[in-house]
């Protein structure tokens, strides 16, 4: 504990700059935001102010649809990434490295670029529209609807989750599956009873990150300018168009709380295993 080569005074001096920046430019502002959200115009207490926000039809609808969309994206991403992540971890073939590189390449795309990719696929001059027009005579354009948002969120979630699944799958004990198989289990039984439970911590961790990212995704929705109001867009509109800082603040804190809670829940569910795989 008392390390002679490293006195406490030095420790404090070394960590002080980072802490100072954190407190001045994040913690303090967040406290201010909390105050702004609780500064009620006409409400008796902060509690009443939040109650008013949560009972407002429009905000509640926005919150619920954001949660539903994020959940749907998380489930779809987990399913797709598990199937293909397991495949990539199990088999080696010539183009595998290239495939993995291509799958992880979009990790660095900002949300706006992801939105543009959806426009390239399903926008007015998009690929899907062109193909469907040729096949059915009907041009499918869904980039600017819920479908577009869903596709965009899938686009930025899949690379993230595949990386995690692959890392977890390479650590699986293949002999357990061999044993199950030699005892006569069908591929489905092996998957459901052996592989899936072993992957569970990684899937929970990846799912939580996927959900949190989808909840806070602003760039994609901003580019697509969809007719569905997701919470980040609602916050943005409240702040810029309506100059309503109090509502924008309480909505962002609600959003922050939901993401934080999901991440914390996943951590407590998986414990140390999350740290090893995330």
């Amino acid at each position: 504990m008392h390390d002679l080569t490293f006195p406490l005074r030095t420790r404090i001096a070394l960590i002080a700059p980072a802490l100072a920046v954190f407190v001045a430019f994040w913690l303090l502002p967040l406290v201010a935001l909390l105050q702004a959200s609780a500064a009620p115009d006409g409400h008796a207490s902060a509690f009443a102010a939040y109650g008013a926000v949560l009972t407002n039809q429009r905000y509640l609808h926005s919150l619920v649809s954001t949660i539903v969309l994020s959940l749907a994206v998380t489930v779809a991403t987990l399913a797709l990434s598990t199937v293909s992540g397991l495949f990539l971890a199990r088999h080696s073939f010539p183009a595998k490295r290239l495939m993995v590189a291509l799958l992880t390449f979009p990790l660095a795309f900002p949300g706006v670029v992801v939105g543009f990719m959806v426009i390239m696929l399903a926008g007015r001059q998009g690929l899907i529209g062109a193909i469907s027009a040729r096949l059915t005579g009907d041009k499918w354009v869904f980039a600017y609807s819920v479908g577009g948002l869903f596709v965009g969120y899938l686009y930025f979630s899949i690379p993230r989750v595949i990386v995690t699944v692959m890392a977890a799958a390479t650590k699986l004990d293949a002999s357990l599956e061999e044993a199950a198989r030699s005892l006569g289990a069908s591929p489905w039984r092996v998957f459901a009873d052996v592989v899936l439970p072993a992957l569970r911590p990684a899937l929970i961790a990846a799912g939580a990150i996927c959900f949190a990212t989808a909840m806070g995704a602003f760039g994609t929705a901003f580019t697509l300018a969809t007719d569905l109001e997701v919470l980040p867009m609602t916050i943005y509109t409240e702040f810029t168009l309506n100059a309503n800082l109090a509502t924008a603040a309480s909505l962002s804190l609600i959003l922050g709380f939901v993401t934080w809670a999901v991440l914390a829940l996943a951590r407590s569910m998986t414990g140390a295993a999350v740290a090893a795989t995330a």
Binding site: L14, L19, V21, F105, G216, F218, A266
Partner: protein, 293 residues
């Protein structure tokens, strides 16, 4: 036996097909947008001819955003290195409860959606005119958001390279703390600093959620300019601008692939963490970026 392997082979083929489909889903739009950026008229297709006209137009309209993004990214990476490396070193060497609490605190900005952090910054510092309208307002936001990535990456290397013993040896030979920090610590954690710096650079260049709220007409970064172009320019211009963005981030991505770091700076941390799994001290779920969307 063969009755059993036949369905398995079929399942494997299905998995392969799905993986191919996913690759196509991620790559095809990128290829399309690169093509659109060098096509004379995308509506008429590639048959209308190829041109560099859109790229030069984008360059003349938006080159300011490219330089500004680079400046902000460089400033961000310098600040995170200067304040983050010493902090990471302390956190990795301390076993106290206070150190764990600080570690948890520093990661919080990654878990909070960028929009909320930006609103918080605006509500406190929005009134300071000169600061608000300078690029440093954006740098501050980026520093707070990217600091955990630098700290985590450096702390992981610190923990794996048994600095305590090395330093004790040096100290017993009479080396002062400053001497030890610069000749032993910094030298040993270099891989962590490089990995962290790469993660910080890519995150900063691509950051939109915070930046969109923090920017002013004079401080338009690359992603802000992209959003602008997507909303108001013809498709070819937006595509050409995307090419510019890809060209700019490509070197960093290649370097990360080469060094085995993922854009969240997590892979090095993971490799090290398995070695010292017993300690289990770095927060797990938040260790991957929640931001770029």
């Amino acid at each position: 036996m063969s009755a059993r392997t036949a369905p398995r082979r079929f399942l494997t083929a299905l998995q392969f097909a799905l993986t191919l489909a996913l690759v196509a889903f991620l790559v095809v739009p990128v290829v399309m947008s690169v093509l659109a950026g060098i096509t004379v008229n995308y509506f008429r297709g590639v048959a209308s001819g190829l041109t560099l006209r859109w790229l030069t137009e984008v360059w003349s309209m938006y080159q300011g955003s490219v330089w500004l993004s680079l400046e902000i990214a460089l400033a961000t990476v310098c600040i995170t290195a200067v304040i983050g490396v010493p902090a990471a070193y302390v956190l990795a060497r301390s076993r106290s409860r206070a150190a764990r609490v600080v570690e948890e605190l520093l990661v919080l900005p990654v878990a909070l959606p960028g929009l909320a952090s930006a609103l918080a910054l605006l509500s406190v510092y929005g009134g300071f005119g000169a600061f608000r309208s300078s690029m440093w307002f954006i740098v501050v936001g980026h520093v707070v958001f990217t600091l955990p990535f630098m700290v985590r990456s450096v702390a992981a290397v610190c923990a794996s390279s048994d600095l305590g013993t090395l330093e004790e040896g040096a100290a017993s030979l009479g080396a002062t703390f400053t001497q030890r920090f610069f000749t032993i610590v910094l030298l040993n954690v270099r891989p962590g600093i490089v990995a962290g710096a790469l993660a910080v650079l890519t995150l900063s260049i691509g950051e939109f959620n915070l930046t969109w709220m923090l920017h002013t007409p004079d401080t338009k970064t690359l992603p802000v300019g992209l959003a602008d172009a997507y909303a108001s320019m013809r498709l070819e211009i937006g595509s050409a601008y995307t090419i510019l963005f890809l060209l700019m981030t490509l070197p960093f991505l290649v370097a990360m692939q080469w060094l085995g770091v993922d854009p969240a700076g997590a892979r090095i941390a993971r490799r090290v963490k398995t070695r010292k799994a017993a300690q289990n001290e770095t927060p797990g779920v938040t260790s991957t970026s929640v931001e770029p969307a």
